[in-house]
Symmetry: C2
Subunit: 467 residues, 2 copies
């Protein structure tokens, strides 16, 4: 079979999926519309579109030189690279097509001039056209700014994949991507107050205005999410799988704010609907990608995908006002980042690639090492020895007792130090389980333990909404 075409069975399944979803979609154009159902239907369609395009475009990408070798396979096959860009483009076009669905109720209300009192209170007829006053322009601007940030990062991510940008410069790509969102936030909303935890309220009051620090915080979140996903990479499927787990857990968290679980109207409902509109199609395209990127990979995803996925999370977390919750789902990524810092800051030599090493004899992956051509300074040697005792790193010494090798500081290598060499697919599955367990723990902290420092879970009362 031609590896770049769909099998007959695949074609039929995808066509049935698209047909069913299109039917659902057409039925949402009734009454006030059903944006959430439309979003689910869209996700099914984009899954089919992304799945087919990834398959079809393989040879086109290879011809254009977008290809890479899979080093963790005996034959090191060459496969298409940067396929995340295809997903990202499909996703972005979908979110654009979704705009009328997201605002259908508001268009209907604004056009008919009645029917839904909480939307249209006053009727002002603008010179030529429909009345505009009660249309939620702020929400539209917020949606558009999220899209702009995502497009920005996709453009810069493609540039990165093409031009092989240096590590130091790469880190800043998400910062540029975050700019549209931050600027529109500044221009259109400018809410920089945050709720103060109860133990600190006697000193700071109920709210504290962070001012420009709030923008620094948002920028930090937007820089962290994409880079941290990019950093936890290196084996088949792990970038996409971790993103999917985070997305699904965020969706679960969003659903907690919808009726019937949380009574409507609730101030945070709109924020979490917004989040769902962004996340559901993301799950669609990521699933299509994962089916091609899971072990043994038929395509690589490229840095574009990692940046793009991280920015989707940053956008929903920031514009949906739950960035603290978001970070609770990034526990493995935060650990991986902190654990990597000695290499990032060059205290320990950092080779260009730190991915686990493939042993062609056993067919297993083992932790990769950095070689100490010069023995480390006494301080660093002591630190490494301590980490070695704590089983957080594995060092090899020569006969004189000098450190000659230490494992690279990534969570993938650490797992291999702990568990011993294993197959690539098993390592990927283990990472998925780690991500799921940490994420569920994070959500538990958010909704149960947070009551210890905040007065109430914001599912019953919230200040996140600004409309």
């Amino acid at each position: 079979m031609n590896p770049s075409s769909l099998s007959r069975q695949e074609t039929w399944r995808l066509l049935i999926l698209v047909g069913a979803c299109s039917g659902i979609l057409l039925n949402t154009f009734q009454d006030e519309g059903a944006p959430l159902i439309a979003s689910i239907a869209f996700s099914g369609i984009v899954f089919a579109v992304a799945y087919s395009l990834i398959r079809w475009l393989g040879p086109v990408f290879m011809n254009a030189g977008l290809k890479g070798k899979d080093m963790a396979k005996p034959k090191r096959p060459e496969i298409p690279e940067t396929m995340g860009a295809v997903c990202a483009v499909v996703y972005l076009l979908t979110l654009i097509f979704f705009i009328p669905f997201a605002f259908y109720k508001d268009i209907v209300a604004a056009t008919s001039g009645g029917g839904n009192r909480d939307v249209v209170i006053e009727v002002h007829h603008v010179e030529t056209g429909r009345m505009l006053h009660r249309f939620p322009h702020g929400r539209l601007a917020s949606y558009l700014s999220g899209l702009l940030s995502l497009q920005c990062i996709v453009i810069l991510g493609i540039g990165d994949d093409l031009l092989d940008i240096r590590w130091r410069h790469k880190v800043l790509i998400p910062a540029f991507g975050a700019i549209p969102m931050l600027i529109v936030y500044f221009v259109d909303f400018g809410v920089t107050q945050v709720v103060v935890p109860v133990p600190l309220q006697p000193y700071l009051g109920s709210f504290v205005d962070l001012g420009w620090l709030y923008y620094v915080y948002m920028a930090a979140v937007a820089i962290f999410c994409p880079n941290s996903i990019n950093m936890l990479a290196g084996i088949n499927g792990v970038e996409v799988a971790q993103s999917l787990v985070i997305a699904v857990l965020l969706i679960a968290n969003d659903v907690l704010y919808l009726a019937p679980i949380t009574p409507y109207p609730h101030p945070a409902t709109d924020s979490h609907l917004f989040s769902l509109y962004f996340l559901l199609p993301f799950v669609g395209v990521s699933l299509a990608l994962l089916l091609h990127n899971w072990y043994p990979s038929k395509v690589f995803v490229g840095d574009t995908y990692c940046y793009f996925a991280g920015m989707v999370f940053a956008v929903v977390g920031i514009l949906g006002h739950f960035s603290k919750t978001l970070l609770l789902l990034f526990i493995p990524q935060i650990f991986n980042f902190l654990y990597s810092t000695p290499q990032l800051f060059k205290l320990i030599p950092c080779p260009r690639h730190r991915l686990p090493k493939f042993n062609a004899v056993t067919g297993l992956l083992d932790a990769s090492v950095t070689e100490w051509t010069m023995p480390p300074s006494p301080l660093i040697a002591a630190g490494l020895e301590l980490l070695h005792q704590l089983r957080l790193v594995r060092v090899t010494r020569n006969e004189e007792g000098q450190i000659v090798e230490s494992t690279n500081l990534t969570i993938l290598n650490l797992w291999l130090v702990w568990m011993g060499p294993m197959k690539e697919s098993r390592l990927a599955w283990n990472m998925v389980i780690v991500q799921v367990v940490c994420g569920i723990f994070g959500l538990f902290v958010r909704h149960r333990l947070a009551l210890l420092v905040f007065r109430e879970d914001n599912r019953t009362f919230g200040l996140q909404s600004y409309y």
Copy 2:
């Protein structure tokens, strides 16, 4: 000298330009802000940034395989390709950074809650944050939707340059790029009435609501502009030069609507300010590109630039509500398109490239030809003969009188048929002059002759504004 670095003289000039513009920019943060002056200062800065980046990134692009041969030079040198993408990215980031400047007055007014009565009429304090009611959300959404369309087309344009997409599919790229703008227009404004020309008013009334046909019209403009610029390509500098001429003439047209020429407040002022904010930085980046792309080219611009430039014009024309005026500046492009149709629709064979042919002996360009391996059908032969008599095409016959060659139907080849072979640089200059003359004629038609069919020039009374 290293061809990818700036000379000392260039460095100093660019630094002085950036310094002067930054000084001007800082001074605009006073009173109500001075967005137009800020936009001019930004244009100077982006010129310097784009100029330097185009120079520096040359080798990086070559390494990444983004390079092409200049066929109209004796040695066919290889030079970097797709440099328009650099301009486009610089431009897009600039327009994003410009948002707070464009809305400075509104932010100040909305935050202080007074000072400018025509902006803040009622003061509604939103729960946490500044009052939002009089902030021009509609204008912001319009600005953001323009940006989204431009980003869309840049992503797809880069894809086109990389993946070598087929001609038939290429044509649709601007259609996808136009979608964000059209959808936001639909959701947020939805004004689809147009003014009826005076001779038709007894039959149709003063306005006619085009409904969905208005969207078809907007989409057609957005598809035409980028493709028509892409079609008028093929010699050093001609894509960028024609775009610059159109941009400068559009700026001249916009200035007609500003004080002191047109008294403020005028309903169309905001639309034309919007247009200036988009066009001034475009002139900055295009000038930087032209200095590298003019004969003899040191870089190629790629399809990305043509799509991007055309979409900038479509965005300002559509969102600024002067798309008819816009089309009057596209006379050479419209002619080129109509003239090309026999080849586009395959009535006459269409080779992959129709650019003028370089004669290595004389060093001149002459019209390229399409070869008739089979003699044309009698009808087409008669048509070609007629065009030949009208000097609109040059045909070559064999001894039996059968047509064996006819010149390719592009304006560049036609000009060479008329004027005879000439140097590439002279042909480019001639095209610039054609564009300028046609454009000035177009503006004259717009502001003088239009009075014959419309009641008044909209500089004194207008319906374009919807705020």
